[in-house]
């Protein structure tokens, strides 16, 4: 019996996943904060605790994500794009396009039937349209980020946003509220704006009717629906989209 650990040190959240025989046994998600090292340890310990295991029971660890190199206890580092691809392929073997919506970066990845990257594209110099939008929106509407999706589905008339800047979107949303715009319409507007940006990435990388949405953004059903509308199809959503890369990393660890 052997356990394998995947640890995804994201710019917003750090995720740990533990696998046994390619099967997910436990996971944990903690905010990355400033100290990636600490977050990586914390997430690992949390995930271990759920199984009553200790570090010694882990046979191999692969780290991934923005701060992967900070998880210095890992045996190897693999890019999060590969890990997303791998993670999705064990969950949905037919998926060929992965849309990952993280805190700063959004990317579209096409994968082959072994879960390896064929191609990928991500936003570059500007965080306009990234997951940051969701955090900002949740904050100014005084709702939990988990509620955004449900709220958005109630919207009848999404607000059109004129700014693409993640920072000024906040002030714009605030102005809209004080003009009397309904919170659900604001959220739906943000979702629509994000989905159209994402659509561009997906078209460029190659659209496939079997696609999945991963990363923290995948938890937002409103956003997923907006993407579905743009792509005129229905996304596969993992049970816990945010840990997809961590899961992929754990699978990689199993094959080391």
């Amino acid at each position: 019996m052997a356990f394998f650990l995947g640890i995804d040190v994201g710019s917003g959240w750090t995720k740990a996943a533990i696998c046994e025989d390619n099967e997910l046994k436990s996971y944990a998600i903690v905010p990355s904060g400033g100290d990636y090292k600490k977050a990586a340890k914390e997430a690992t310990n949390l995930a271990l605790k759920k199984l009553n295991l200790s570090v010694k029971d882990i046979k191999c660890t692969v780290a991934t994500g923005y701060g992967a190199t900070m998880a210095d206890f890992a045996n190897d580092v693999i890019s999060d794009i590969s890990c997303h691809a791998k993670g999705i392929s064990v969950l949905f073997s037919n998926v060929r396009t992965v849309i990952d919506i993280g805190a700063q970066f959004t990317r579209a990845i096409t994968i082959d039937n072994d879960g390896r990257i064929i191609n990928f594209i991500m936003n570059e110099k500007c965080a306009g349209g990234s997951g940051k939008f969701l955090q900002v929106t949740a904050r100014i509407l005084h709702v939990n980020i988990e509620e955004l999706g449900r709220l958005s589905l109630e919207s009848k008339k999404p607000v059109e946003f004129t700014t693409a800047c993640a920072v000024f979107a906040e002030s714009e949303a605030i102005s809209r509220i004080s003009e009397g715009a309904r919170p659900e319409d604001i959220v739906a507007g943000i979702h629509k704006a994000m989905a159209s940006k994402i659509m561009t990435l997906v078209t460029r990388v190659g659209m496939n009717p079997d696609y999945a949405v991963t990363g923290g953004g995948g938890k937002d059903i409103g956003l997923v629906k907006a993407i579905d509308n743009e792509l005129r199809s229905k996304a596969y959503i993992p049970y816990e989209p945010q840990i997809t890369a961590a899961l992929g990393a754990a699978i990689f660890a199993s094959s080391k």
Partner: protein
Amino acid sequence: MKRYFAGVDIGSTMTKVVIFSDRIEATIIGPTGPEHRKLANKVMEEALNLAQIRFENLSYIIATGYGRINVPFADRQITEITCHAKGLHSLLPTVKTIVDIGGQDSKGIKIKDGKVVSFVMNDKCAAGTGRFIEIMADSIGVPLEDMGIISLTAEKAAPISSTCTVFAEHEIINKLASGETIPNLIAGIHESVATRVSAMVKKLTIEQDVAVTGGGAKNIGLVKALEKKLGCSIIVPPEPLITGALGASVLAKEIFEKYEREGQMPVRSSCGLQEAKIFS
């Protein structure tokens, strides 16, 4: 009988009111905030209380700033560019170049005899604005007011490679975790804003004296960084935040007196001291 004039500056972050006669009678600075956007009337009431006059005593009111449309009781709207120039000139007549660092916009203004001769403004990206500093202050947990002082103790500005505010925020958090000192980080933050602002302001041939206005001027570290980038010393007016509102109130007086000289009655807003109902 003494005449009173008012200037109301609704900025993206702060709302400022100045009541002016032949001198400043009252100044108020309050947050703009989501609900406050429509509540210019409340800030005005405060200012009136402070000056111990009534709304009816005001002969002319000018609104400025990015929310200038949201002041129903103002008699006229004038852009913050003209108002900053006027306000600063009334305080410091030797100044020829103004750098204004506000919450959402940064601007460079060239003036001659209190009139604008040219100006530049940043584009729609939060990098290079006061907002950038606010966000960074928030994420390293230092009060905005202390950013300036703290940065002066830096040994060396920590370079920040991302221009994007969102990316830079993460970069700073990481640098903090990997042991960079707070003063060095803050100095780096100021340098990043100063670099962007100076590149923009240099489009105007800079002539001395140079002054800085807006909330950014309250930040001594930022002012120092700007001085380095522009290669000249910079004057900071005593209360830089109110420059725009002051200019508006001075303009209110000038415009009113011009009407009077020409024997005309200025057209005044029909709204009383009420909340804004239309927005821009």
